[in-house]
């Protein structure tokens, strides 16, 4: 009923197409990518306002009525995710302007980023489960190429693992879609939600839901399916790592939240209990892996996994408060994680290494960088008044309300370990004096690197500012997340918006 939904998809597509026309013009590529990212962000923010004031927005592509045609749906949760996509796209593209080498740019780095953003936006907007598969593939193919682009040895070896596991997950997802269609005879998610209630073989539906859990679980890097992530995320250039860390696993979590709040809700004592248990294990293994690492980016990669556990915890609790916790945690973790990855890139730029043992003295030489690190790091650990505190607070109150003390205890313990591992980075990279064997960098020289590359600092500063703002204005953000969670929990609004009043 509104064409607003098409803009987050068509803007990156047009941007990428135009870039292919201006293949060799560096300036045009840079300008277009900034305009494109601003376009996604602007259209996403307009969409969020529209959804907030006028309810769930639906677009029937080609005006075919709902269960027959292709449906695009934007509820509050997907609009929030789209805003985050636009924001991350903008931050990472600004950072890329100063940090991507000419070689990668010449082989299509910027068009690929735009295709990736299109795939991610499509996955957030689609209301059709097979179409979700297609958007996953758009996103995956762009990410495969981005991961391998440049062809360094470690990149190729990381890409092998990433590609294999993701293809395996796609094959499982496809099989799940096939079986779902065989059982219910529709692919529209709202229609599925209605018709799945009539299926009598509840155990078959449960088995099917587990197939989806595994398929999306691989993409979301859930325990015990996360091994591809720490093996590949530290290999590509920093902006690529950052956008992967910010968005790709979150698309997996989004898909899990979507199907397990809309479609597979018959026997939540079975399905959601499994999700809750896996969430706990995901938190613990992720953070334990992180504590053991000495590579800046590998440590952060393990942290992604641990945070996925928190996101799944809200889903596993399956209450409005729990889902609201997941939504607000999603906003928080996307901001903090990408900021930390971008900072690891700056320290690498200054000292030429990601090895925490060889880094040091960053606090003494570059206090501003240290401040910018502290904000997302403390936020990730959940120190008030930053965004992470309120996100964790929401999840933990939701857990306590249900008397799920095991998961609450796990979440709190993992928080402390998160703080410990962030302090480890702080001690190694920022606090201790620079070890002798590293090439001693002149402080003025370093400052001039930073000054010349204000494009590297600017996106981190914006993200850090947003983290602080999110902490200060936690109340309105939580209200928004609560509204989004209500829409997720009470599926009738979604179903009615898609199928019309007839159902």
């Amino acid at each position: 009923m509104t064409n607003l939904l098409i803009f987050p998809l068509i803007i990156p597509l047009i941007t990428a197409a135009l870039m292919l026309v201006f293949w060799r013009w560096r300036f045009a590529q840079h300008l277009l990518s900034i305009i494109g990212a601003l376009g996604i962000l602007a259209s996403a923010i307009i969409l969020l306002f529209t959804v907030y004031h006028h309810g769930i927005q639906v677009l029937q592509i080609g005006t075919w009525p709902a269960p027959f045609g292709l449906t695009m749906v934007a509820d509050l949760f997907s609009s929030i995710m789209l805003v985050m996509t636009g924001l991350m796209g903008l931050a990472v593209i600004i950072y890329s302007l100063a940090s991507i080498d000419p070689q990668r740019r010449k082989y299509g780095y910027y068009p690929l980023i735009n295709i990736l953003l299109m795939g991610v936006s499509g996955a957030f907007l689609t209301g059709d489960i097979f179409n979700l598969y297609v958007w996953f593939e758009v996103m995956l193919i762009a990410s495969f190429v981005l991961l391998a682009l440049g062809g360094e040895q470690k990149q190729i070896l990381g890409a092998i693992k990433y590609v294999t596991l993701n293809l395996l997950s796609s094959a499982l997802f496809l099989a799940g879609v096939g079986l779902l269609y065989a059982t219910i005879g529709t692919l529209n998610m709202a229609d599925l939600a209605v018709k799945i209630q009539m299926v009598e073989q509840i155990h078959f539906i449960n088995a099917l839901s587990m197939l989806f859990l595994v398929a999306f679980g691989i993409k979301a890097a859930m325990f015990p399916l996360f091994f591809w992530l720490p093996a590949s995320y530290h290999t590509p250039p920093v902006p690529v790592s950052a956008i992967f860390a910010a968005l790709l696993t979150k698309v997996g979590v989004y898909a899990l939240i979507r199907v397990f709040t809309l479609i597979f809700i018959q026997e939540t004592t079975f399905t959601h209990t499994i999700i809750l248990i896996l969430a706990g294990f995901t938190m613990v293994t992720g953070v334990l892996g992180a504590v053991a690492q000495i590579d800046f980016r590998r440590l952060l990669s393990f942290h992604i996994i641990s945070q996925i556990g928190y996101l799944l915890m809200g889903l596993g609790l399956m209450t409005v408060q729990g889902l609201a916790g997941s939504v607000i945690f999603m906003i928080h973790v996307i901001l903090s994680k990408s900021a930390l990855f971008l900072i690891s890139g700056i320290s690498n730029r200054l000292y030429g290494t990601f090895d925490l043992k060889k880094l040091g003295g960053l606090y003494q030489s570059f206090p501003i960088l240290a401040l910018l690190f502290m904000v997302p790091a403390l936020s990730l650990a959940g120190i008030p008044p930053l965004s992470g505190f309120f996100a964790k607070f929401a999840l933990i109150t939701a857990g306590l309300a249900l008397e799920q003390y095991y998961i609450v205890g796990t979440a709190l313990t993992v928080s402390i370990l998160t703080l410990y591992s962030m302090m480890k980075i702080w001690n190694e990279a920022f606090w201790k004096p620079l070890p002798k064997p590293t090439i001693q960098l002149n402080q003025d020289e370093g400052l001039s690197i930073l000054r010349r590359n204000s494009l590297l600092i600017a996106p981190i500063a914006i993200l850090a500012l947003l983290i602080v703002i999110l902490g200060i204005f936690a109340e309105p953000i939580y209200t928004l997340a609560l509204e989004a969670a209500k829409q997720l929990f009470d599926t009738s609004g979604y179903i009615q918006a898609v199928l019309g009043d007839s159902s």
Partner: protein, 115 residues
């Protein structure tokens, strides 16, 4: 007929998983291709195997005369095959680059050279 195809899907899955777990990278790709085929056949089966006419609505009517074949699984498979083709093409180039990098077909070396 459906039973035979169902067994075939099972065999394809088993063969695919077996190949994915071999040490050779070439066999890893073959395994992924087989898994993709298994999923496609599974979708094909999901529409049901019936002898029926194409679902075209005759002029002046609203619904086609039954029985009609379900066109949707075929449309889905077509999409999945095209996507699978592109992905496999990329993967073949990737393993070629891997071979150039580590000079071997052995997946175990991929892990060893990680650090």
């Amino acid at each position: 007929m459906e039973i035979i195809l169902a067994i075939l899907v099972g065999i394809l899955y088993a063969a695919g998983l077996y190949m994915v777990m071999r040490r050779s990278i070439i066999k890893l790709i073959i395994g992924l291709v087989l898994l993709g085929h298994a999923a496609n056949l599974l979708i094909f089966l999901s529409g049901g195997l019936i002898r029926a006419i194409p679902p075209i609505v005759p002029e002046g009517e609203i619904v086609p005369p039954i029985p009609v074949a379900d066109p949707l699984p075929q449309a889905m498979i077509l999409t999945a095959i095209v996507i699978g083709f592109g992905v496999v093409a990329f993967t073949v180039v990737l393993i070629h680059r891997t071979y150039q990098t580590i000079g071997s077909d052995d997946i175990d070396l991929v892990g060893e050279t990680e650090q």
